[in-house]
Amino acid sequence: MSKAYKLTVENDDLFATMKAFFRDLLREQVVDVLLVPQESVNHKSVIQTLVKNEEEIVNANPFIPLLLMNSATLVSQLTLDNPKSRIGVLMRSCEIRATIELAKLKQVNVENLVIIGVDCLGTYESNIYQEITEKYEGARDLSLKYLSKATEAEPFLLEGKEVRQACLSCEYPNPDNADIAISFFGCDLNKEIFVQLSEKIHHALPERLSLIPVESVMQWKESSKKCLDKRIKFRDNLFNDVLERIKDAKSFLKELEHCRRCYNCRKECPICYCRECIFDSLTFEHASEQYFTWAKKKGKIRMPTDTLLFHLTRMNHMVISCVACGQCSSACPNGIAVAKFFKTVGFKVQKLFDYKPGRSLEEENPQATFKEDEFPDVGTP
């Protein structure tokens, strides 16, 4: 059970308060090093920075409606060789869930990891964000406007633009499983925000981080529920839309007609961690005569070959752990709705095993676990 606290916003300045909070994490040695999103050099964008020196927390921005990559991949890079340092990482729910899935796949070591989660109202596609950013002074102003409906746990739609579909249909607006959760839904951001600490970490922490205990986080719970209800509605419509569009092999192939095999979707996917993907291996380096034989058999063939097989294989390999972060679609240069199919099929596959990726580290990955008594009807007609 987590314990609830509030963090008072000083001088009506949310960002100054967050800056002090993150600096305290380092100064008080709650963590030795902190991965936190900060403004880029030109102040228009926000990217993860790995900070050792607390003075280098200059313009931290955990609220920016932009997610240039799923940080779970970074957490893997930072923890794979069992570091002794305590690493704090600021992440949204999709990144936390992906991190937990990677830990099950032995790609992340959680031993010295402190997860600082933050509620998420949704992020923009990078190109839309860049358009919007033209109309603002910088990332800070943009964020403050976007947060102006935080009491209702709704994003303010900048320039009338919607956030990513993956976000609109995300069933996890709150950062479950975080050690330190920045719970700002339902709060007046000029006054105070909630911070919830897990059992594991809350000992002696609150005083060091200027946190004041609170009895209840009712407005956070209620606004989060409202947000979730909306998202589930959107998600269900999305599922219906996908299953309508993909009725047969022909219609699925239609979705893939622009695929250029750049493998961006694979690269951005936090779950795709294979050092050598089978599609980069010799398995798919066909002999030229093989191509000619296929061409002869069918009359003509699409080049490069195996486009459908790539997507189906990737699906077969990782969809059980798909956290629907949508980075695959966001990275696709040709606008293929990869995230939509993977989320839809992921939902069904995960339901078969009553599995929710990222729900708990204790819950084993069903695809990686052998159970003798399971699906007894399969293989026995």
Binding site: L243, I246, A249, S251, L308, M315, N316, V319, V378, G379
Partner: protein, 55 residues
């Protein structure tokens, strides 16, 4: 199960993919299954994926 779910939901004929437990010593059983499968497949007709070049 995962494969079946993928095939069913992405518009493929999952009935063309069969999973059976057959030991190396069950030659006759294997032959029977294959005969049965070929019959069923013949009735289903050619697979769209065989002829489409857009794959």
């Amino acid at each position: 199960m995962i494969l079946n779910t993928i095939l069913e939901n992405m518009g493929f004929e999952a009935e063309r993919v069969w999973i059976r437990w057959i030991s190396a010593s069950e030659g006759k059983y294997f032959a029977n299954i294959i005969t049965e499968m070929v019959d069923k497949l013949k009735k289903m007709g050619p697979n769209f994926l065989k002829t489409t070049w857009d794959i």
